[in-house]
């Protein structure tokens, strides 16, 4: 009974594991995206594949452990029980690894309170993660070595059996070796690694209080002449008092300049900001200010990004997905629980002193990460326009709220993300 069960488990895994591994290859994914023209569907399918792979792994482990126990029971030898121990040990390690990647289910979006809790992670959590990282890396190395040994061993056994004339044994070992070879080729891309230089920064750093990253703010006159060309999708026409046929000027001429330092909260009157925004986005004024204060950013900068990303709060993402900041994954704008929440989330990332924007202080520098420059053949020069577009929005909004003499400091010329 146990033997039959073990064999069926293994047979099922034999079919599932390579198929699922193939399904996860980037080539297959790319082909699927091209064929279906629906990256979302492919992403959902991949989540399902990930879940199936987890199932297959568990089935495989159950089968192997059952078979090993049966084998040891039949052999009744010391070596057999060592084998069982090894199998159980490896199985245990792998369950730990699977827990780390729990079957690809959608994680719940973090709420503000959760973000705050995470931002004050205790050092103990960091140590636990570091230990887990060491274990995983060690296991990966061990498996590499074992895999190589078994491949070589399979062929040596087959060759040896052939030389001594054990035809049946030779065939069996060749079969064994060929499958190993096939396995190597099939799984190598998933297994062999890119060399990585030692990390120069701590693996998980405890995030210091946001207040510690406050920088002195020098006053700079805002230049808020003219109108602006807000988002690169959506059509906001004269929503902000323009006439829809405004001649847009070059960045810096009517904006605040892309060298504007946007770190540091700038006290902003909520009523003035509300009045400066078009009607459909006035309810966001308080969120811009609160998020700026919490994450040590200029609220007008947040409003400027929002204006640029939503085409003056006219985009489909803003109206249909509560997405006021252009928050997206690789497949496009994502649905947010509320427009205010999208502002808090983006501000949390922009203001994280250990985050992706930790080294960027000016609009231009932040733009190099927020909207990386495209290739020179980018027909719309979209991403290179981000900094100047946000700058223009800041100029316009700053002017409307009466920031004639302040709003940030001029940082040194942008240094390529330094």
């Amino acid at each position: 009974m146990t033997k039959t069960f073990a064999r069926w488990c293994l047979a099922l895994s034999l079919v599932l594991v390579p198929v699922l591994a193939l399904a996860q290859s980037s080539d297959i994914q790319a082909a699927a995206k091209e064929a279906t023209q629906s990256p979302e569907a492919v992403a959902k399918a991949l989540t399902f594949v990930e879940m199936l792979r987890g199932f297959a792994t568990i089935v495989l482990l159950i089968g192997v452990v059952a078979a090993a126990i049966l084998y040891a029971y039949q052999q009744k030898g010391y070596a057999a029980w060592v084998f069982v121990g090894a199998v159980v040990l490896f199985g245990g390690f792998w369950v730990v690894a699977m827990v780390e990647q729990p079957f690809g289910g959608d994680a719940q979006p973090a709420q503000l309170s959760e973000i705050q809790a995470i931002a004050h992670l205790p050092h103990q959590a960091s140590a636990a993660l570091a230990i887990q990282e060491c274990l995983m890396r060690g296991l990966n190395l061990l498996l590499n070595v074992l895999f190589a040994i078994f491949v070589v061993l399979g062929y040596i056994l087959a060759l040896g059996a052939a030389v001594v004339g054990e035809f049946a044994e030779s065939i069996r070992q060749w079969f064994f070796g060929l499958i190993f070879s096939f396995g190597c080729n099939l799984f190598a891309p998933f297994f062999f690694v890119i060399p990585v230089a030692p990390s120069e920064t701590p693996q998980i750093a405890d995030i210091p209080p946001l207040e510690s990253s406050l920088t002195p703010i020098a006053l700079l006159p805002y230049n808020y002449r003219g109108f602006n060309n807000g988002g690169d999708y959506g059509n906001f026409g004269d929503l902000m008092g323009g006439n829809g046929s405004t001649v847009y000027q070059q960045p810096g001429a009517n904006g605040v300049g892309t060298n504007q330092n946007v770190r540091g909260f700038v006290p902003t009157d909520v009523n003035a900001l509300r009045a400066a925004l078009p009607p459909q986005s006035q309810y966001l004024a308080q969120a811009f200010i609160d998020a700026g204060q919490r994450y040590n950013l200029d609220p007008v900068f947040l409003a400027g990004i929002s204006g640029f990303e939503t085409g003056g709060w006219t985009s489909s993402a803003f109206y249909n997905k509560n997405n006021a900041m252009g928050i997206s994954d690789a497949y496009g704008p994502t649905y947010q629980s509320s427009a205010q929440d999208s502002i808090y989330k983006m501000a949390a990332i922009l203001g994280n002193p250990n985050g992706a924007y930790a080294n960027q202080n000016t609009i231009g520098q932040i733009g190099s990460v927020y909207a990386p420059s495209g290739a020179e053949n980018d027909p719309y020069n979209t991403n290179s326009e981000w900094a100047s577009g946000v700058s223009r929005w800041m100029g316009t909004l700053g002017g409307k709220i009466g920031r004639g003499n302040g709003g940030g400091s001029v940082a040194p010329p942008a240094g390529s993300g330094s």
């Binding site: 073990a6 064999r7 069926w8 293994l10 699922l20 290859s25 792979r53 495989l60 089968g63 192997v64 084998y71 690894a97 690809g104 959608d106 994680a107 979006p109 931002a119 992670l121 990966n140 498996l143 078994f150 079969f175 064994f176 499958i179 396995g183 799984f187 891309p189 998933f190 297994f191 890119i194 990585v196 990390s199 920064t201 693996q203 999708y233 959506g234 993402a317 997206s328 994954d329 690789a330 704008p333 949390a348 250990n354 985050g355 992706a356 930790a358 231009g364 990460v369 927020y370 909207a371 990386p372 420059s373 495209g374 020179e376 980018d378 719309y380 979209t382 991403n383 390529s416 993300g417």
Partner: protein, 145 residues
């Protein structure tokens, strides 16, 4: 079904059990895992790939096509995308000035080893699931060569 049962019984020796065990481990083994926002060095081919950006049509972006797929660990401090990123091979480059594109052009199609750090895509201008911020030192090095 009878034939399958026969085949399974015929070929499921204990060596095969062992093989399947390691084979399964390899298939389910996570690819090399990188931490987000940690400076690392990776190798891959520097390419321009075209992506569809909502509202703007196709956009050409600089990417690194890595030698083999990688995993990127979850960043729990990221409120937008706190999930791990699994089995990716193409990452968009970020963190450089528009003028640096002429330097990248010199390396287009070549295998390069670059330093930088990964982070999860979170804006509509990020076209791959993870983005790689080029380290300033790497940019200086590429410029000087």
């Amino acid at each position: 079904m009878k034939i399958l049962q026969l085949l399974v019984r015929r070929f499921c020796s204990y060596e095969i059990f062992l093989f399947l065990f390691f084979c399964g481990l390899c298939a389910t083994a996570p690819a090399e895992e990188f931490k987000q926002l940690t400076w690392v060095t990776v190798s891959g081919r520097l390419e321009v790939q075209s992506f569809q950006e909502e509202g703007n049509g196709p956009v050409g972006a600089w990417v690194i096509n890595l030698a083999s797929p990688i995993d990127i660990a979850a960043d729990p401090t990221n409120p937008i995308n706190p999930k791990p990123i699994l089995h990716i091979q193409v990452v968009q480059l970020a963190g450089f000035e528009p003028a640096f594109r002429s330097v990248l052009k010199r390396y287009e199609g070549k295998v390069v080893t670059v330093s930088g750090r990964f982070f999860a895509a979170h804006t509509r201008h990020h076209y791959t699931q993870a983005v790689f911020e080029l380290a300033p030192a790497t940019q200086q090095q590429m410029q000087s060569l």
